[in-house]
């Protein structure tokens, strides 16, 4: 159980934090941050472990958000069924994008570009199509009751997303310790060498993008369920593609706690920026961008790695 011990400790700390978050503002901030973390866990698997940098994870987030909302609002599907359906839809989008791009041999800049383009295509389509409610978006009818997966207050949502984030951490650790995980990292480090050792690189990348899309899809479905509204720029906008990749990179790329640490830190920085500069639109994302550059420049292993090194240095200094 030892590899999972640290996850249990972090989950308990999160639970303590959640039970202290009595104010709606704090709880709200934590819910959005942890939803971003969840989306980040999806990105981290493909980008951090697999080395395939997607700039369009909005495609998965948005597909799930829309399916969740449209299934309930238009077809009267039960909220929980819609939630499952939404996650499955995201995974399906992952299969399609992954199959097309990886089979064509797209890597590096090209993979980043094509994922960006897919997300944009979906944004334009969602904004124009009738079934999605077009530019007006789709509202989920307000009906607070557990049977509708809707709750009074922020706290219940916080608990739900914390459980999901904990599951994402466990899943990430399980991948790390599996053959699939070893193959995924091998493909990131050197695809030709991995192939020579019997690794079916295409298959490994496809498996990774499906899990990645499903995790980010969970975040999208939850987002729709929490705000009870989606439109094209929320669901497929560049903001979520950016946050899904910024969280793991700022927190610690290819690590179990990276996306969580990063999402919470980015949220904290964002709030601090608001406190200083007021609610000017753009300030928050500008700061995220600057942090992204800074982390890549000076701390490849992210804030988490920075903290580890800091404490290691202090311990060495004290001894």
């Amino acid at each position: 159980m030892r590899p999972y011990l640290s996850i249990v400790i972090v989950a308990l700390a999160l639970a303590a934090l959640a039970s202290l978050a009595h104010s709606n503002t704090l709880a709200n901030s934590l819910v959005t941050a942890t939803i971003i973390a969840l989306a980040g866990y999806g990105w981290n698997l493909l980008g951090g472990y697999g080395g395939q940098y997607s700039f369009g994870h909005a495609a998965f987030f948005g597909a799930a958000a829309y399916v969740d909302a449209v299934a309930q609002a238009r077809y009267g599907v039960n909220a929980y069924a819609a939630f499952v359906l939404a996650t499955a839809a995201a995974a399906l989008v992952g299969v399609v994008i992954g199959y097309l791009s990886f089979r064509a041999g797209l890597r590096g800049s090209y993979f980043a570009l094509i994922t960006l383009a897919f997300a944009e295509v979906m944004r334009v389509l969602a904004n124009a199509a009738g079934i999605t409610g077009g530019a007006a978006g789709t509202l989920i009818r307000l009906a607070p009751s557990p049977s509708h997966f809707q709750f009074v207050g922020r706290q219940p949502y916080l608990w739900i997303v914390l459980v999901l984030v904990t599951l994402a951490m466990i899943a990430t650790r399980a991948v790390e310790r599996s053959r699939f995980g070893a193959y995924l990292v091998a493909v990131r480090e050197n695809e030709a060498a991995a192939r020579a050792l019997g690794v079916d690189a295409l298959r490994v990348k496809l498996q990774a993008i499906v899990i990645s899309a499903a995790l980010t899809g969970l975040a999208g479905a939850l987002y729709a369920q929490y705000f009870l509204f989606v439109d094209a720029s929320i669901a497929f906008g560049p903001w979520i593609s950016i946050e899904a990749l910024a969280a793991p990179i700022v927190g610690g790329l290819g690590t179990v706690f990276g996306p969580l640490v990063g999402a919470l830190a980015l949220d904290g920085f964002g709030e601090a920026a608001h406190a200083v500069a007021g609610r000017t639109p753009g300030i928050e994302l500008a700061l995220y961008g600057a942090l992204l550059v800074l982390v890549v420049a000076v701390a490849r292993d992210g804030l988490q790695g920075l903290a580890v090194r800091f404490f290691a240095a202090r311990r060495a200094g004290a001894a």
């Binding site: 070893a182 060498a193 991995a194 192939r195 079916d200």
Partner: protein, 251 residues
């Protein structure tokens, strides 16, 4: 006579206008250490790539262990039992030695503990036992070569293709490597090696193939092959054999 392990039939590979491999046919029996020699640019590494599947031949067939693998990609050929090392070492730089070798070991051992144990065992065998947790990026040239061999070995191949694993090593490192190769062969792994270090080739290989300009120009026991005038000329240029025979040269 047992069935051959590897049969190449009229293998040809062109890159644009250049014919790198030109109608190569050979039959490799099970067991033993076979060498491939030839001047630079003869197509030796390309031949390995065609056998291992990282390149596809334009024409010709590759038969391995009784099956036709011509259309199979590299990973499927590894599953069939073809292992290779790379001339320019290709470590998974972000991983430790143990993790590097485990990637190979996972091919036959799906469980993590089995694969890691197997990796440690194999690393030990090629002389990397003391560096299991070292990052692959920190290894010396000689240790990287050992890592290449260990990784390929971990896939438990029937045929192991060693691409210039002795190049760039100093004489004492070369001496240390020879027993490792012999031990592989003793275990029943058929070894094919590309090598420039001639005394090692003469020492290790029972049979040599000579490749020049993409064609097989000679084969046989090392002592015979190296006396072949055609081979000498391909290395030293036209007329060299005659000059040598005259006891010529001024130094």
């Amino acid at each position: 006579m047992t069935a051959p392990l590897l049969v190449l039939e009229g293998l040809t590979k062109r890159f644009g206008g250049l014919t790198a491999i030109d109608g190569v046919s050979l039959t490799l029996p099970c067991g033993g250490v076979t060498g491939i020699i030839g001047p630079n640019g003869a197509g030796k590494t390309t031949l390995f790539s065609l056998i291992a599947g990282s390149e596809r031949a334009n024409t010709g067939r590759v038969l391995f262990d009784g099956g036709d693998v011509t259309r199979l990609p590299a990973n499927a050929r590894a599953v069939r039992g073809i292992g290779r090392t790379f001339q320019i070492t290709q470590p998974f730089a972000g991983m430790s030695v143990r993790e590097n070798v485990a990637v190979g070991a996972y091919l036959r051992h799906a469980r993590r503990n089995d694969a890691l144990a197997r990796a440690a065992e194999i690393a030990e065998r090629v002389g990397l036992g003391g560096r299991l947790d070292a990052p692959a990026a920190s290894l010396t040239v000689s240790a990287r070569k050992r890592l290449e061999v260990a990784r390929a070995l971990a896939t438990e191949p029937k045929l192991l293709l060693l691409d210039e694993i002795l190049a760039g090593l100093n004489p004492s490192e070369v001496r240390e490597f020879a027993p490792v190769v012999r031990a592989l062969s003793a275990q029943g792994i058929t070894v094919m090696m590309i090598e420039h270090v001639m005394h090692a080739v003469m020492n290790l290989c029972a049979h040599l193939y000579v490749l020049a300009e993409g064609r097989l120009i000679a084969q046989g026991p090392p002592a015979e092959v190296t006396r072949d005038p055609l081979v000498i000329e391909s290395y030293l240029g036209k007329g060299a054999a005659a000059r040598l025979a005259r006891g010529g040269g001024h130094g």
